[in-house]
Symmetry: C2
């Protein structure tokens, strides 16, 4: 059984896998692990090699375009009681949650940015549908929606997919964003993200692209070179409340942005992650969901890890200009 | 000139290098960059190839054992005014600070753990001496002391060295630890780290090694496999107040711990970082300096980056046992 443990100093929760513990040898082997041996469980025709399907979107001929399945090696499991306990000064709980994989296409060869716009929209519909379903489980407090593309970004399977992790706790970095935006609201009575959208759209120097409903920018203080944020122009705290036109705008913007990143940086590995509000909370006036894309270009050095303090060698104004000028 | 910029949501400061901006091509080139071409500016005899020495420790024959020099490509510079300004809703300041390199030995071939114990003690003496000197500059608020060992940990020069970055701001992760420990103190009237030392020493299952003055443990909720903390047993908020016997204990413990890590994990890349209190603050009852070692074994995946939420496949009790059992 997995366990959630809390760091007593910072309050950060960590998942500790106690049932399939990795020993020193496992890390050494992982270093030389080859790519998949040509056989892919996510490909069309291999549906029996994943755990049973949770959701699929199908065409008129009943061929699936997108499938959601449980992760075969889940970080957390839906089964079991949410059991909280102490261990001296420490706190822990059982690893209850969900870990699902969204297979974005039956075709092994196509990356997300190579899929038609409608397939990218399907990915966000699937995120939305799964969020609305998991939200009904009152043990769960937060849903992480993310994609690891390429080996350097942590992808272990080549076939294009995204993931969803539903947690009984709120991740510390999201918590900080929510608290920071609450402080800003307390001071200004405005959402900080709405202010960012307004200022960036007016200024233009960090804008990569825009649609009626979406703004794509290099943020003012990015941790990483070419870090990119995709924000809805209108205030909205919860991703799962997005309506059809916003999802369509988002799909277009994400696809176009990734194509630009792939052109400018020559197909880098990248991660994206949706930052949204805790699922059991009502609408928040101060928090505004958004999507962050991080191309994995540089190794992160020791003090960056340990201090949460980053050195970024590329000013966001220059990154934005490269991406703005790149074709789609 | 480098610039410090603040993320308006989380309050995290980032250094943006505006004077030697890296363009997309630079990242592509960096991927295939070879190792040093055999010529090392840190070796004995090449002293003229570093910026002028700030500090050195020498033997009776006037040969240096350790040198501190400014970083040739500093993230921050001591020269210039600390100029704070706004840019609409954003905040920035000029990149005033210091970035120094501690060359740990004149010998290119020896790693830190291969040096005699006294040389490791010298490293901590140098950290202490430089901290006490930089503390007199009232513009500076925090000093990061860290080491990147191996390519995967971000080391760009093979010759064994550590680094020091002095900042006019407090890194967000340190700030969180300080605030978390203040909350704990408010609740319990005890330092959380003192409580950790007491509980871990009594429990023993996560202890790697101990001396009269130092405890080395796998923390209860580690983000990374084989993450290791080295704590003074007695309460002390500021590293730079460490006295001779504590530094000697620390040197022995760090050297022994790294040797164990290198044996168990077959010479991995690693980072270490000292977490200490802001230099302009007086002694804090609630914060306790310590050193964190992170072997770089796994790739960090997207959601870990973006959410500050980690999955660790090795329980700390097992990591501690492997390290405890390993010879030095």
């Amino acid at each position: 059984m997995q366990q959630l443990r809390k760091d007593p100093v910072t309050g950060r929760w960590v998942i500790i896998s106690t049932d399939r513990a990795r020993r020193p040898d496992d890390f050494l082997r992982a270093r030389v692990l080859a790519k998949s041996n040509g056989h892919c469980p996510f490909c069309s025709g291999h549906e029996d090699q994943t755990p049973p399907e949770i959701l699929s979107y199908r065409d008129d001929a009943n061929q699936w375009n997108l499938r959601v399945v449980p992760n075969k090696f889940p970080a957390l499991r839906v089964e079991g009681m949410l059991d909280r306990s102490g261990e001296g000064l420490y706190d822990r709980m059982t690893g209850v949650g969900a870990h699902e994989v969204i297979i974005e296409s039956p075709d092994h060869k196509l990356s997300l940015a190579e899929l038609p716009e409608q397939r990218v929209a399907d990915l966000f519909w699937a995120f939305r549908d799964r969020s609305l379903d998991l939200k009904r489980d009152s043990r769960l407090r937060y849903i992480l929606l993310f994609k690891n593309h390429g080996e350097a970004a942590g992808a272990s399977i080549e076939h294009s997919h995204s993931q969803l992790i539903a947690l009984p706790v709120i991740p510390v970095q999201v918590q900080e964003e929510i608290e920071g935006s609450r402080r800003y609201y307390g001071f200004k009575e405005r959402c900080v993200f709405c202010d960012i959208v307004r200022q960036e759209a007016a200024d233009g120097s960090r804008v990569i692209l825009e649609t009626d409903e979406i703004l794509v920018i290099s943020p003012y203080a990015p941790r990483f070179p070419f870090e990119t944020w995709i924000l809805p122009r209108s205030h909205s705290s919860h991703f799962e409340t997005a309506e059809a036109s916003l999802i369509q705008n988002l799909a277009w913007a994400v696809r176009a942005t990734i194509r630009k990143i792939e052109r400018v940086l020559e197909q880098p590995s990248y991660n994206f992650l949706i930052h949204t509000s805790p699922i059991q909370e009502g609408p928040l006036v101060h928090y505004h969901w958004h999507l962050e894309i991080i191309p994995r270009l540089t190794r992160v050095a020791g003090f960056e890890w340990g201090a949460g303090f980053y050195i970024n060698p590329t000013p966001p104004e220059e990154a934005a200009q490269f991406l703005r000028d790149a074709g789609v």
